[in-house]
């Protein structure tokens, strides 16, 4: 399995990338870790004549924690996310989710930018970014702009990013309260049959804030507003949790594939969301 021939570019600035993308348009594509893109190129499911490697741009790398805001450069790898102690302290949910992605080899190469920009509903980070209410930072020929993760995904592989833009970083407010990312998969290295990210804040026995989102249960990641509405203001009793789980399952829209038929996936979604709420609650 050999990809079609392409010309390889490795600019060292973001401006350099944008000018190549503007020049070659649809014929060009950026590569980050390559662990979603290269398999597709090898299968010749996509035709790219200019491959632009983002690996030479140092400003796209690294994690910064500035007061209440956490910013992660697009080229930060999943391995780096899982091993960064300061990040694990500030946002342990990131490590919990990163370690559930693929396998060690893939995590050394795969980046957070590639994972969220790809638009593959099976990727775990987009769902997690719904949970965290993250902001994506894009740069293109017209300059910089920000898009909320919750507004970014339009359909499988279709996002709010324009062809000539790249994602430079993601940022989110330092999370508080209990958290969990739960994922059901057939084996290590597999994409989710169903996964859910949950955050819960409790003050004086009442849930004052919550977030619930799903991975691989629709053609985009799903933020479950109705489940959140059910949780917030409640005492998180069993009945409330049941209502929230049902609302989350209702928001899912899976398709049948090798991971199972629709009914099975909805069933697993219910189990996983319940598990995520329960473990977030235990940590809140």
């Amino acid at each position: 399995m050999i990809a079609s021939a392409f010309e390889y570019h490795k600019p060292d600035t973001v401006d350099g990338v944008i000018s190549l993308l503007s020049k070659w348009g649809d014929d060009a594509r950026v590569v980050a870790g390559g662990h979603s893109l290269i398999p597709v190129m090898k299968q010749r499911m996509t035709d790219i004549s200019h491959l632009i490697d983002l690996g030479g741009i140092s400003e796209l790398k690294g994690v910064s924690i500035d007061g209440d805001t956490i910013t992660i450069g697009a080229m930060t790898t999943q391995h780096e996310l899982a091993t960064d102690e300061a990040l694990a302290e500030a946002a342990p949910l990131i490590r919990e989710a990163s370690l559930q992605i693929a396998d060690p080899q893939v995590r050394y190469m795969g980046t957070i930018g590639g994972n969220v920009a790809n638009g593959d509903p099976a990727n775990d980070m987009p769902g997690l970014m719904q949970t965290l209410d993250a902001t994506y930072h894009l740069t293109g020929p017209a300059g910089k702009r920000e898009v909320k993760a919750r507004d970014f995904y339009e359909a499988a592989y279709f996002t709010a990013r324009e062809d000539e833009e790249i994602l430079t970083a993601i940022s989110f407010a330092k999370p508080s309260g209990g958290f969990a990312y739960e994922k059901q998969k057939r084996k290590i290295g597999d994409y989710a049959t169903a996964a859910a990210g949950v955050m819960i804040t409790i003050v004086g026995g009442t849930c004052t804030a919550a977030s619930v989102a799903l991975t691989n249960l629709s053609d985009t990641p799903v933020y479950c507003g109705a489940a959140v509405d059910a949780l917030v203001g409640s005492s998180l009793d069993d009945t409330t949790i049941k209502v929230a789980v049902a609302a989350a399952v209702d928001a899912s829209d899976p398709v049948a594939d090798t991971r199972g038929p629709v009914d099975f996936k909805k069933y697993v979604a219910g189990v996983i969301v319940k598990k995520a709420i329960t473990s977030a609650l235990a940590r809140a």
């Binding site: 990809a3 390889y8 390559g34 662990h35 491959l51 060690p104 080899q105």
Partner: protein, 162 residues
């Protein structure tokens, strides 16, 4: 879209060659450099038989373009030990029967090597999680895990007595 001039350090030696950017690192190693230790199993990023060390990371070399390996520092199984000077991991795989057909073994050992660089005293669970990107169709993994744990102990012993 011709060939590019590729410079890498492979098993401690500087190498230069002409390669197409789209060539896969595994093919460059096996076919251009004659290092046939790393194997091609699935060729689709799943089995880990092609695992080599690149810039301090375990990578599946079937999922790295030659162009991405420009200036990289690469270690393959050939760089870890030799028939008359086996690496502790190779010795322990032999001793604990950590291989049967041997197809997964170069990838498995190269991966285990990086794992032990990062965590010199892993638990059994950490070993299992650490090699979860490498499939073995023969052994059932038990003896591979034993071999890696024994190699860790041996390497620590060697470090202490050094």
């Amino acid at each position: 879209m011709g060939k590019t001039h590729l410079k890498m350090t492979v098993n401690g030696k500087d190498v230069e060659l002409m390669a197409e950017p789209r060539q896969l690192l595994i093919h460059v190693l096996r076919e251009e450099l004659n290092l046939t230790g790393a194997h091609v199993g699935c060729e689709s990023s799943h089995c880990g038989a092609c695992t080599v060390d690149m810039n301090g990371m375990s990578v599946k070399s079937c999922t790295v373009f030659a162009a991405q390996a420009q200036h990289a520092e690469i270690t393959t199984i050939e760089g870890l030990g030799s028939p008359d000077g086996l690496h502790a991991l190779q010795e322990m795989f032999k001793e604990h029967h950590g291989l049967q057909c041997g197809y997964c073994t170069p990838g498995m050992i190269t991966r285990a090597h990086r794992l032990l660089q990062e965590n010199s005293n892993p638990s059994e669970e950490e070993v299992r999680f650490g090699i979860s990107g490498n499939l073995c169709r023969c052994t059932g993994y038990q003896n591979i895990v034993k071999a890696i744990l024994a190699a860790a102990a041996k390497m620590n012993e060697m470090k202490e007595s050094a």
